[in-house]
């Protein structure tokens, strides 16, 4: 499935970084976005239903960091289909390797300048909204479907 307008969910604890991101997002107005401030908030938001098209996740966050949140998402049969992009200041090999090992679909280093930030978010949006196909919903194993847990 392709979507005209992406619903993005950001997990970002840093208000100042969020300011930059939000300003950059406002330049592409066809998408809607939401923000949570840590892994715990992210998971409880996802449990509310009305899941976003994709998640953009910071690594270092209080209470529950990005790795832990990502692991939880990949364990949950109702959430594991969601594309997750890590977006962080860290360029560390360890963080990059660990993110992909936890099941990230991409790793973005926060750019230093505003134009680069706009450019990066724009390219990411083009990729996820225009190039690739997204799943319509979770792919559930037979026993869950049959049990009708939902």
């Amino acid at each position: 499935m392709k979507v005209e307008s992406l619903i993005l969910l950001f997990a970002e604890d840093d208000d100042e970084d969020w300011m930059l991101i939000e300003e950059a997002l406002e330049t592409c107005d066809q998408d809607s976005y939401e923000r949570v401030k840590n892994g715990e908030e992210l998971l409880s938001r996802l449990l509310e239903g009305n899941t976003p098209h994709m998640i953009i996740l910071d690594i270092r966050m209080p209470r529950m960091d990005g790795f832990a949140a990502l692991e939880e998402i990949r364990k949950d049969p109702f959430l594991r289909h969601l594309p997750v992009m890590v977006m962080t200041t860290s360029k560390s090999d360890i963080d990059i390797a660990r993110s992909y090992a936890c099941g990230a679909n991409g790793y973005l280093v926060k750019p230093t300048t505003f134009p680069l930030m706009k450019e990066m978010l724009g390219q990411a949006r083009r990729y996820w909204a225009e190039l690739v196909e997204l799943p319509e919903g979770p792919w559930l194993p037979k026993e869950i479907k049959a049990g009708g847990v939902i």
Partner: protein
């Protein structure tokens, strides 16, 4: 009459290997002592001239014999009519060499006394040699700290020697009450050897016996070999080490036993110390890594903000700032991005000290170098640089990411330090030189003063201001560190105004454990 009686005896004597002669002693006058009969063997044994000696006085033929009191012995035999054994004595005849004889004097009848002598030199010589050997053996066993056990194949002790050092420890102490179970102590009591004849089992406690017994069993197997064994006495906390070896015939087994408690304790202490150091090092290494990791985020994060919001401010105030204001803001943004670059370089440098988990792979430089240069294509275009890569380059085993980093740093250096107004000219070559691979990057740039050769590889060391040539002063230090990880080195050759040549030297075979 008398000589007739003698004649009946002598023919048989001529056939014997012993020298036999008969003397006649009239009264007790030594001067009257006369040879009456001499058998054939006497010439061989005592060097008598058998054809001329008969009828002559002993004092004439061998005066030394009379001086030695020979006649008195003869007189005694004559008187008592009993045989006298003379035992073994040295003998030197006029016609024979010095030798050892064993003789006995026996009565015949009346004034006639017989002398029977045998050459026992060979036997005596063996005895002397044996005594020497024994002396040597005793001297040896008294100096070795080991307890020496000589056994037969049935584990019966034939001898125990030495063990001086063994005796110093309680288990083998000479004071029996300090030695609860170790019977071996008794064998150490000189001068006699109370253990000889005992079974090994009676001498050592059962567990110890089993260990030694097993080694002896192995030593007795074909082909013969020396077998090593160790034993820890739980009761006394002492450690013993020993060896057993059998003679070729398999009849005799020699076992040595040594107290190695102090040695073991020392070895253990050393092992512990190494283990402690290693774990301390691992810990501090881990902490350093954690520090670098934290630094990569926590230092960069605020800096990142300065750059980003500096940019935002500059956009925001566009048109409102005067020239000075724009310059100030420009310096601010520029400085923070330089600091960011510096932190990244430092992190790379600190990471170059860490263990690479991946194994090195085969890298063909003919393909690899052009690929690396693609990463620099922008700079190459910008500077209009002329880069020549030699052909037929070797293939080596490295971590491509490390070699890539080294090459990029060296080539960027060459691109950077070109002569003002000139175009950078760079030549890259690689070849095998004995046990090493060499890779050289040569430029025709500004060069450097050779007195700074060592200097330029240090962190933060720069020969120019960043206004002339930008950089963090870490690039070459990083190159050297990466190359040293392979047990290699890097050399710089240059003169001011005459270009620089960097040569990377990598060993063909890396040290087994890379630091």
């Amino acid at each position: 009459m008398s000589s007739n009686r003698l004649d009946t005896l002598t023919p048989a004597w001529d056939l014997l290997p012993e020298g036999i002669f008969v003397v006649k002693l009239a009264g007790s006058n030594p001067a009257s002592l006369t040879y009456v009969y001499v058998n054939q063997a006497c010439s061989e044994v005592m060097g008598f001239d058998t054809s001329t000696v008969i009828g002559r006085h002993v004092s004439e033929v061998s005066p030394a014999v009379i001086e030695g009191g020979f006649h008195l012995q003869i007189a005694k035999v004559k008187e008592t009519q009993k045989t006298i054994e003379l035992g073994v004595f040295p003998y030197q005849g006029t016609l024979v060499s010095r030798r050892w004889l064993c003789a006995s004097l026996f009565p015949i009848f009346g004034d006639y006394v017989g002398v029977c002598a045998r050459d026992v030199s060979e036997h005596k010589q063996n005895e002397i040699e044996r005594d020497h050997l024994l002396d040597r053996y005793r001297a040896l066993s008294s100096v070795v700290p080991d307890l020496l056990l000589v056994l037969n194949k049935d584990r019966i002790l034939l001898a125990c020697e030495g063990g001086g050092e063994l005796g110093r420890c309680p288990a083998f102490s000479k004071e029996p009450n300090r030695v609860p179970k170790c019977h071996a102590t008794r064998m150490l009591n000189p001068p006699h050897n109370p253990c000889a004849g005992k079974h090994l089992r009676e001498v050592f406690p059962a567990q110890f016996f089993n260990v030694i017994d097993l080694a002896i069993r192995e030593a007795l197997m074909e082909p013969p070999k020396a077998c090593h064994f160790t034993f820890h006495d739980d009761e006394s906390h002492l450690d013993y080490e020993g060896r057993a070896a059998a003679t070729e015939s398999g009849e005799i087994v020699v076992t040595i036993l040594r107290n190695v408690t102090t040695q073991r304790a020392f070895e253990k202490e050393l092992e512990d110390r190494v283990a402690r150091r290693t774990s301390d090092l691992a810990q501090s290494n881990y902490e350093l890594q954690q520090f670098a990791y934290a630094a990569s985020h926590d230092l960069r994060e605020p800096l990142h903000k300065i750059t980003a919001f500096g940019g935002r401010l500059s956009d925001h105030l566009e048109g409102q700032l005067d020239e000075k204001g724009q310059q100030y803001l420009g310096i601010l943004i520029n400085a923070s991005s330089r600091l960011e670059r510096l932190i990244d370089d430092l992190l790379d440098y600190s990471r170059a000290g860490q263990l690479e988990e991946a194994a090195p792979v085969e890298v063909n430089l003919n393909e690899f170098i052009p690929l690396v240069l693609e990463d620099l294509s922008e700079r190459v275009l910008e500077t209009k640089a002329d880069i020549q890569i030699a052909t037929e380059l070797p293939t080596l085993w490295v971590h491509p990411s490390r070699l890539r980093r080294v090459l990029i740093n060296l080539v960027s250096n060459a691109l950077k330090f070109h002569k003002p107004g000139g175009v950078p000219q760079v030549a890259i070559n690689s070849w095998v030189d004995g046990d090493s691979f060499k890779i050289s990057v040569q430029d025709q740039g500004i060069g450097f003063d050779p007195k700074f050769t060592d200097h330029i590889f240090h962190v933060f060391t720069r020969l120019h201001t960043r206004f002339d040539y930008p950089g963090t002063g870490i690039g070459l230090a990083l190159c050297r560190r990466l190359v040293e990880r392979y047990g290699g080195s890097i050399e710089a050759l240059g003169k001011p105004g005459e270009g620089t040549t960097f040569t990377v030297i990598l060993p063909k075979v890396f040290p087994l454990e890379m630091p």
